[in-house]
């Protein structure tokens, strides 16, 4: 079976497996005049990282918290792997869903290891399995197990705490993760690093992630799909590329700042515009040539193209493997999709 076949079969299976599905979901809070979430229908495909993006009060967090039933939906259906979430026992449902919040919420009286072990302990895993899982997770989130297992949350920096929060949410290997502005309270340099690591982790583990943020750049960096929300409704649900290149209305345009071409290019990565290399040409390129990485921004690519005077530039991944090429025409296709 060739690589392309694999691609096709996964695509096919994705067509049939929506991991989370909202069907005409509405939620009203007693004190509010308008519904917090208003007749939202949204399909989240297995293995996708879907960002709920919008200004504060748009209903994105409410939508998220209805999945693990911290809020109960008033009408409509929410399906997890095809089953209405109310058909599960609420504690069982939550143990199957990883949950990460902005204020982290680590248990201050427990060590890092015990924090991470919380759900596996409730699920009755044996000690050896829990211990090795804790070490494995600490490695994944970039914390030395030997050094950090025994620490208390107060002995960690904000960034380290959220790493532990992430490890804790993944502890029982849930298929679904809910992340509510997890990096919003972290300084921009650390945030950037955590975003990169989340992407790396996601590449390995392929969870279905619902991720709430009001930060457009974060949304575009992380998302497979973005659902832009406003006043309880999803106004556009599409790939970051489409959200930027074909915003559904003025609200989306304004929110993403898509009117500014250079800003738009700075938000898009090379990977989204490059011409993928086919199998024959994927020979390692010499390091001497100016090359771009798939995660570099298109703004950088434009700069390099103009600066070097080259017609096309190779795109090279971490392993030095050439994965595609980028040229002016490719960039123009994005800025002028028609």
């Amino acid at each position: 079976m060739s690589a392309q076949d694999v691609q096709l079969t996964t695509n096919n299976s994705q067509l049939t497996t929506s991991e989370i599905a909202f069907e005409h979901v509405t939620k009203r809070f007693p004190s509010a005049a308008t519904p917090a979430v208003d007749d939202v229908s949204l399909d989240v495909q297995q293995g996708d990282l879907v960002v709920l993006l919008g200004p504060s009060g748009c209903g994105k967090t409410t939508l998220l918290k209805m999945v693990n039933r911290l809020y109960e939906h008033d009408s409509g259906r929410i399906l997890m792997q095809g089953q209405e979430i109310r058909s599960f026992k609420v504690t069982d449902l939550r143990r199957r869903i990883g949950y990460v919040i902005q204020s982290v919420g680590l248990f201050p009286h427990m060590t890092v290891a015990r924090n991470i072990a919380t759900v596996p302990e409730m699920l009755g895993w044996d000690k050896a399995r829990i211990n090795s899982r804790v070490d494995e997770l600490l490695e994944i989130v970039g914390l030395q197990p030997g050094e950090y297992r025994g620490r208390y949350p107060a002995q960690l920096s904000g960034g380290q705490q959220q790493r532990v929060g992430l490890a804790r949410a993944m502890s029982a290997d849930p298929a679904i993760m809910l992340m509510d502005e997890p990096f919003a309270a972290i300084d921009s340099i650390t945030r950037r690093r955590l975003q990169d690591e989340l992407l790396n982790i996601q590449q390995k583990v392929r969870k279905t992630i619902l991720f709430v943020t009001h930060d457009v750049e974060e949304a575009i960096r992380l998302a497979d799909k973005i659902a832009v929300m406003r006043a309880g409704k999803v106004v556009q649900h599409d790939t970051p590329l489409r959200i930027l290149s074909a915003p559904a209305d003025d609200f989306v345009t304004e929110l993403t700042g898509a009117g500014d071409v250079l800003r738009r290019l700075s938000l898009l990565d090379v990977g989204s515009a490059m011409l993928p290399a086919n199998g024959v040409n994927s020979t390692p390129t010499t390091a001497a040539a100016a090359a771009l990485h798939p995660r570099d921004s298109l703004r950088d690519a434009l700069g390099q193209l103009l600066g070097s005077g080259a017609e096309t530039l190779p795109v090279v991944d971490e392993q030095g493997q050439r994965v595609g090429t980028i040229d002016m025409a490719a960039i123009r296709r994005l800025t002028h999709p028609d």
Partner: protein, 227 residues
Amino acid sequence: MDQLTRYLFANFGDKVWPRMVEHITLSSLALLIALVIALPLGLAISKVKPAAPPVLGVLDILYTIPSFALFAFLVPITGIGTQPALIALSAYALVVLVHNTMVAFNGVDPAVREAARGMGMSPAQVLWRIEVPLALPIIIAGVRIAALSTVGLTTIAAWIGAGGMGQLLRDGMNDPTYSKLYAGIISIGIIAVAADVVFRLLERLASVPTHQKARKSPSKDLLVKRA
């Protein structure tokens, strides 16, 4: 001083020690009764916020009644002895304990509670694994304050025939050498200081290392703090 030492040597076993035991028993019992009522009540009014002002209001009114008046008030109803003493002492301790228990549970970070719920802990698991351990140091601090005030108030209970160190003070008033009086005062002080030390120790044991920053040797850090 001389007379005091002589008095203590001659009478510690049969006059002072039994009163001390009475005093400690009475105080502990009152504290225990108050705890049994106050812990669930304090937790309840921390969960059901609208219930807090009326409950605390009633308790505060109780607290403003002078202790001697309350003891005297109970005598026609219950007669003299340990029964009215226990009722009055428990009532006073209750005020402090309910208030502090509520504050302790209110002090648990909502984010921690949300994380616990979101991870699939049942309400009972959230309570016992998260809220109680986090609230415990403050609850114990409340118990310490209640214990100290109870030890003091128990002295007055002797005037309604409940015994304790107050009895020694009463008798000591008529003793021209005041040896009994001094012996009583010193003993009460010892009980109070002992209670203070014990509860401070418990408080420290229940505390979590929330404010230590990561250092090479956290234990060294603790010692500095203690000093």
